[in-house]
Symmetry: C2
Subunit: 332 residues, 2 copies
DNA sequence: ATGAAAGCGCTAACAC
DNA sequence: GTGTTAGCGCTTTCAT
């Protein structure tokens, strides 16, 4: 603990309210006085105590960020972008992780409610009802989850799934496997729905393996089933699973992409360093983090300003996808 | 904002001080009264306002975590572990990143000073003098940096570097290259010193390429120099560089490990999914995060309880290292 | 065991 | 333009 507003007031020979104004409403104070105050503050290394300020303004200048797993390469860039955006606006970020546990999630939102100006809730696992309920306690922006008319930031995974299926269909694949994600994941359901529709439209077979914990190890373990299924192409819920799957297929003597093509989701950094380089649907996780923070701050200014934003995804074709058994469409 | 201590007091028919005691010093209040208070609190969804509490106790129940890059696969597990450890102790984590900028670093520590009970400063880039100075404003635990007698959590990278060099020497390599890290990195200096000593002791040549920004792209770009240097083995400052380097070597037609062996540092998740799987010195990043939080909390209880802890590293031999040009020592 | 009262550091009317 | 005052929600003496 260092100097308080009183110390600065004394040093500058003014009342504490003048010091307060010099910081929070500079235009209300004489320029000369202001400079004197700011000088004294500088000298003393004074910084307004945010807790004290929050107590009276009701604004903490802090945003809560709740994710399932901080170290997950999907979430990490989102946290990074959110922090950066928040800091630009003189906001701080309180992070916490839930380990995918809905109860922890709920508890965290409640615990954060009084300490933050808003909560960015990423890929929540709670029920819609519960989300709507906790949204009364504190402004919430959902990421990767759509709930009635709560503000949310979505990524167009449906479009991504369609692109992936179409890409594979054009390459001549007619039997595709889908490695789904967790049961309670909104994203996972979106991907399944959209991939199913796209497969039907393209006239290709789609076998779904679901639900799964979307880790590389699980992807690896699924290689056998995939190989047996007769599918010549696979779309995985995320890059981690895809990477694991490729490793598993390799150890089964199935080569990617000549025997089986693999498409992931997310475009995590690893995707470009594994071999073959992974074809994947890039998710704008950084953009989502930034957007969510902006929406939260806007919500602070105008609590009715709810919105649902969908960010574009993009299929990035690398080396893990290739022609199907009969060659690309139109080639024969 | 929801119910306050006053609401609970009214509902329970007691004075607010009794409510306060029921939460923070339960033994001071009659069991029956306490149950009534707790019941009312539960009913109203009351949670003590931490800002108000902090204002009077001076304890925020929050720890500040400052890293260069939140999404870096080296730091992410550290943040994860710290958050988890903190939450167990009913503490929260405020994260911020510096982009390796010492000025941002200093500013963040100062900004956090009044809002947190302590700061975990990871791989700081500030000067020793500055670190010692800001340490007066707020309790600090350093990670990956040793400064006089400030509390710090280190990893035995020196031992790791020695193991790496010895491993390569035993495999028969006599010309080794070292890809150093950033100039201001304590870890980088430690590795260089120790690798140098180990190389001398083993009677092998060590060529140092330094300083470098430790990214995969830089590793990739360095492949040419490494190939020209005549080294048959490389130790990289971290796994990211090592992975990039392997890719670069591959595109130069240099194969790993038959032509050149590669060792990384950190053991990030990617290390086991690239091919060849990366031999690397595992750094206990999670353990460091946990330890740092514990030290910080202990510092809160006893401000004189400074300590310097060094965590063990471990060489993990995978597939990126193999025999040198003359075969392993003792084989010929 | 509980209530009363002071006050943490700050902001926001309200005076002048 | 600046000082005065009240009070945010809570903890902590001090009484009782």
């Amino acid at each position: 603990m260092r100097s308080t507003i009183t110390d600065v007031a004394q040093a500058a020979g003014v009342h504490i309210s003048t010091v307060s104004r010099a910081f929070s409403s500079p235009h209300l104070v004489n320029e000369e006085t202001r400079n004197r105050v700011l000088g004294a503050a500088e000298e003393l290394g004074y910084r307004p105590n945010r807790a004290a300020r929050a107590l009276i303004t009701g604004k903490t200048q802090t945003i809560g960020l709740i994710v399932a797993d901080i170290a997950n390469p999907f979430f990490a860039p989102m946290i990074k972008a959110a922090e950066s955006q928040a800091r630009m606006r003189d906001y701080h970020i309180l992070v916490a992780e839930t380990d995918e546990d809905p109860a922890v999630e709920e508890d965290l939102v409640r615990a954060f409610a009084k300490q933050v100006d808003g909560v960015q809730l990423c890929s929540p696992r709670m029920s819609n009802e519960l989300i709507e309920k906790v949204a009364h306690d504190v402004p919430i922006v959902l990421v990767n989850r759509m709930v009635s008319d709560l503000p949310c930031v979505l990524m167009d995974v449906a479009g991504g799934a369609r692109s992936a299926i179409e890409h594979l269909a054009i390459l001549g694949h007619t039997a595709i496997a889908l490695l789904g994600g967790p049961r309670s994941s909104w994203t996972s359901r979106e991907i399944r729905k959209s991939a199913g529709a796209a497969a039907r439209a393209a006239g290709v077979d789609l076998t779904v393996f679901s639900p799964n914990t979307p880790t590389a190890d699980v992807g690896l373990a699924l290689a056998g089933k995939v190989a047996q299924s007769g599918a010549t192409a696979v779309v995985a819920h995320n890059d981690l699973m895809a990477v694991g799957l490729m490793e598993g297929l390799d150890s089964l003597g199935v080569s990617v992409p000549s025997d089986v093509s693999v498409v992931g989701f997310d475009d995590i950094e690893m995707a470009q360093w594994v071999r073959p380089k992974l074809t994947t649907v890039a998710n704008p996780t950084g953009g989502a983090g930034r957007t969510a923070v902006d929406m939260l701050l806007q919500l602070g200014a105008d609590p009715t300003a709810t919105a649902q934003v969908t960010l574009r995804t993009e299929l990035i074709v690398r080396d893990s996808t290739g022609p199907g058994p009969a060659g690309p469409k139109g080639s024969g």
